[in-house]
């Protein structure tokens, strides 16, 4: 399932690195270990799917700061944060939800195993979604400005006639542009087209 996944482990303590790497190995996954957050950031090449297992106590950059740094760099890698300080749980949650799993050390039976699997599953899905999003954006970028205007109206739910009147062109012209849009975006229905646009532009005001 996670054939090409890599688990990145960051901990300043060799024994902890070794233990987590051993567990990851038993899971049949590749592991890469780093002694500091900086070391990891310098080495990470954006590989997906993967997950980061780290500790909040680390000197230099803390696990949380590492996560923030990743977000700033647009890296959406799933993160499993191990902590001995329960009080930081709330902090972590306030900072970031979703891709961060917080585990209190020492973990209960299976907890770390499960958390890594869940993180990888999340990351796999996330990376697929990101990949698809990148594809949609790439396709959207092939549209001409005139085609873009027509797409806007389609998403807004206008009829061809209304569009022709609104854009001050013939209905025929609208029809030609519509066809090109469906071809360029490899879409077969208006519903799919609308979904793709909304996905690519999540901040777009509702039509």
């Amino acid at each position: 399932m996670f054939a090409d996944a890599i688990v990145y482990i960051v901990d300043d303590e060799p024994a902890a690195l070794e233990a987590v790497a051993a567990l990851v190995g038993v899971m049949g996954l590749a592991a890469k270990t780093y002694r500091s957050a900086e070391e990891f950031l310098a080495a990470y090449d954006g590989h997906r799917p993967g997950c980061l297992v780290t500790d909040v106590r680390m000197l230099g950059m803390s696990g949380i700061e590492l996560q923030e740094q990743l977000a700033r760099q647009g890296i959406t890698l799933a993160v499993v944060v191990l902590t001995a300080y329960p009080e930081t749980q709330t902090t972590v949650r306030a900072i970031k939800g979703g891709a961060v799993t917080l585990l209190e050390k020492p973990c209960r039976d299976q907890e770390l195993w499960d958390a890594i699997r869940a993180a990888l599953a999340h990351d796999l899905e996330q990376s697929r979604r990101e990949k698809r999003l990148r594809e949609i954006r790439r396709r959207l970028e092939t549209l001409t400005p005139a085609e873009m205007l027509v797409l806007e109206r389609i998403v807004a739910g206008d009829s061809n006639k209304a569009m022709a009147r609104h854009l001050d062109v013939s209905v025929r012209t609208i029809e030609v542009r519509r066809q090109r849009i469906f071809q360029k975006l490899a879409s077969e229905s208006v519903a799919e087209l609308v979904r793709m646009v909304l996905e690519a532009q999540p901040n777009r005001p509702a039509p």
């Binding site: 024994a15 070794e18 233990a19 038993v26 000197l59 009080e87 050390k105 020492p106 973990c107």
Partner: protein, 533 residues
């Protein structure tokens, strides 16, 4: 015939008179000399010259009155005799003392004069004067000696009362410990009669062999140039109790520098020692309370310190149980390897727990020979978690080797933990790369020094001066007890702790402890300090 007899008799008397040593003379009632025997020649007078002179003119003016009084008495009654002393001038004008017997024979028809028999007593007088002078001198001398004796007696009395009445014990003893003198205070303190003590050695009264050896060692090296030794030890009291005594010894030498005796002045310091002990116990209790509260503050961090090995253990166990479910070849070997690592982590967790227990134990101070470098490393284990949480780096710059010190390792660790924590707290506001605490150590044959340096916001002169006073703190949540206790711990170990502003930034707290040169007991000390860990 009568005439012949008379003549013969006159001749006899004349011969007697004229050959007599004393001057015999006849004078009239008004003092004119009618006759003088030849003996007047010894005063330079010719007998014929003397006749016709008035005795009053020859008398010493001071004696005239007295002689006149005697003469009046003499004249009052015929045949009266008086004896009188006076001075007359001789022909040379010198005054001569005379002892004279005057006999009134004016009424005697054959004499009709006062017969004067005068004897020269000038030399006698002189001798008497000399004798008097001598007597006076002797008397003075005797007086003087008596006074001196009195002074000696008084001073002896004073000395004796000083020796006897004072509360300090005085004992003189021969080099083998045999007492030759004890004062009352000594007898009272040891509850024995003087006779029981004199001639016996005092060494058996000393409680422990170590102290006996100390007395022998300290007193055996005394010299006329350096005759004083001082020491303290416990002694057995007659009621079976143990008393603390403090002694100042003086070695007594003869003129050739040979040791004769020792004189020891001692006092009962039992009450003082007990107070000191109580105070020490209180300090220890306070130090313990402070340690426990220090641990309380650090417990979250220490929790993580325990959590870390448990995390490693649980992760290895997860991996092991998963691999055993698989059909991975060599899984048994793999599990064995992991179990060994699990064991390491269990030991580590156990060590941390033991260190916590050691650090918070309430045992009385247990001093031993320790290596401060080792204590610094041990203290690092206690502070590591806290420093990590505060994102503070700890750097050690330890001397390659240090002389041992005689100290309680737990208390010194407490000082180190306190100072390191303070240093870390002083850097809360610093940028992370600057949050560095440096512990350095150094030492020579006299002192061992440990310095804890921060790069924090520093302290004002006023704050520096206040450091170490209880309840002084620059931290809003602090009590200031930590530093006060740290300072006292160091001082109780015979050392010193002080803060100093760094030239660039932050403060350095330095403490020094007296070095303990290696001795035959060093191996035992090291063994014990290893055990404490």
């Amino acid at each position: 015939m009568n005439d012949l007899v008379f003549r013969q008799s006159e001749y006899l008397f004349r011969a007697l008179i004229e050959n007599a040593q004393d001057v015999i003379g006849l004078i009239s009632a008004d003092g004119v000399i009618l006759y003088a025997s030849p003996a007047v020649r010894q005063f330079g007078w010719d007998p014929d010259q003397a006749v016709g002179q008035s005795i009053w003119s020859l008398l010493h003016p001071d004696d005239v009155e007295r002689v006149r009084a005697s003469t009046l008495e003499l004249l009052r009654e015929p045949d009266a005799r008086v004896r009188v002393e006076f001075r007359t001038r001789d022909a040379g004008g010198h005054w001569r003392y005379k002892d004279a017997l005057l006999h009134n024979l004016l009424h005697h028809p054959a004499v009709q004069a006062i017969v004067v028999n005068q004897h020269d007593i000038t030399e006698l007088k002189q001798s008497q004067a000399d004798l008097n002078e001598l007597n006076l001198q002797m008397w003075r001398e005797i007086q003087g000696r008596e006074q001196a004796e009195q002074e000696i007696r008084q001073s002896e009395q004073r000395f004796r009362s000083v020796v006897e009445d004072q509360t300090e014990f005085i004992v003189r003893w021969k080099p083998d410990g045999t007492r030759t003198f004890v004062n009352s205070a000594y007898c009272r303190f040891f509850g024995r009669a003087r006779e029981e003590l004199i001639g016996q050695s005092f060494f058996p009264l000393i409680m422990d062999e170590e102290s006996r050896r100390q007395v022998r060692e300290l007193t055996s090296v005394l010299t006329p140039a350096n005759p004083i030794a001082a020491y303290e030890h416990r002694v057995c009291r007659p009621d079976g109790s143990i008393g603390w005594t403090q002694w100042h010894d003086r070695a007594i030498f003869d003129d050739e520098g040979r040791l004769l005796e020792y004189q020891s002045v001692g006092r009962d310091i039992t009450a003082w020692k007990e107070t000191e002990e109580r105070l020490r116990q209180q300090h220890e209790e306070l130090a313990h309370v402070a340690r426990v509260s220090l641990m309380g503050e650090m417990v979250a961090a220490m929790g993580h310190e325990i959590g870390q090995p448990l995390h490693v253990i649980s992760t290895f166990i997860s991996a092991a149980s998963k691999i055993l479910e698989s059909d991975s070849p060599g899984k048994i070997e793999q599990v064995h390897q992991w179990l060994a690592k699990v064991q390491e982590q269990v030991t580590r967790a156990g060590d941390i727990l033991r260190r916590l227990r050691e650090f918070t134990r309430a045992d009385p101070s247990h001093r031993q020979r320790i290596d401060l470098n080792q204590t610094v490393r041990q203290s690092r284990e206690l502070t590591a978690a806290d420093l990590r949480r505060r994102r503070v780096r700890l750097e050690l710059q330890l001397a390659p080797s240090l002389p041992a010190v005689h100290a309680d390792p737990i208390q010194i660790e407490q000082v180190l933990v306190n100072l390191v924590r303070n240093a870390a707290e002083a850097m809360q506001a610093c940028a992370e790369p600057d949050r560095v605490v440096t512990i350095s150590s150094d030492g020579d044959e006299n002192l061992v020094q440990v310095a804890i340096r921060d790069r924090g916001t520093g302290m004002t002169d006023e704050q520096l001066a206040q450091v170490g006073k209880a309840f002084f703190t620059t931290k809003p949540e602090g009590t200031g007890i930590g530093l006060a206790i740290s300072r006292r711990i160091i001082e109780e170990h015979g050392g010193r702790l002080w803060p100093q502003r760094n030239a660039d930034r932050g403060v350095t707290f330095t403490f020094v402890l007296p070095a303990q040169p290696s001795s035959d007991s060093s191996s035992r000390g090291v063994e014990r300090s290893e055990h404490v860990r």
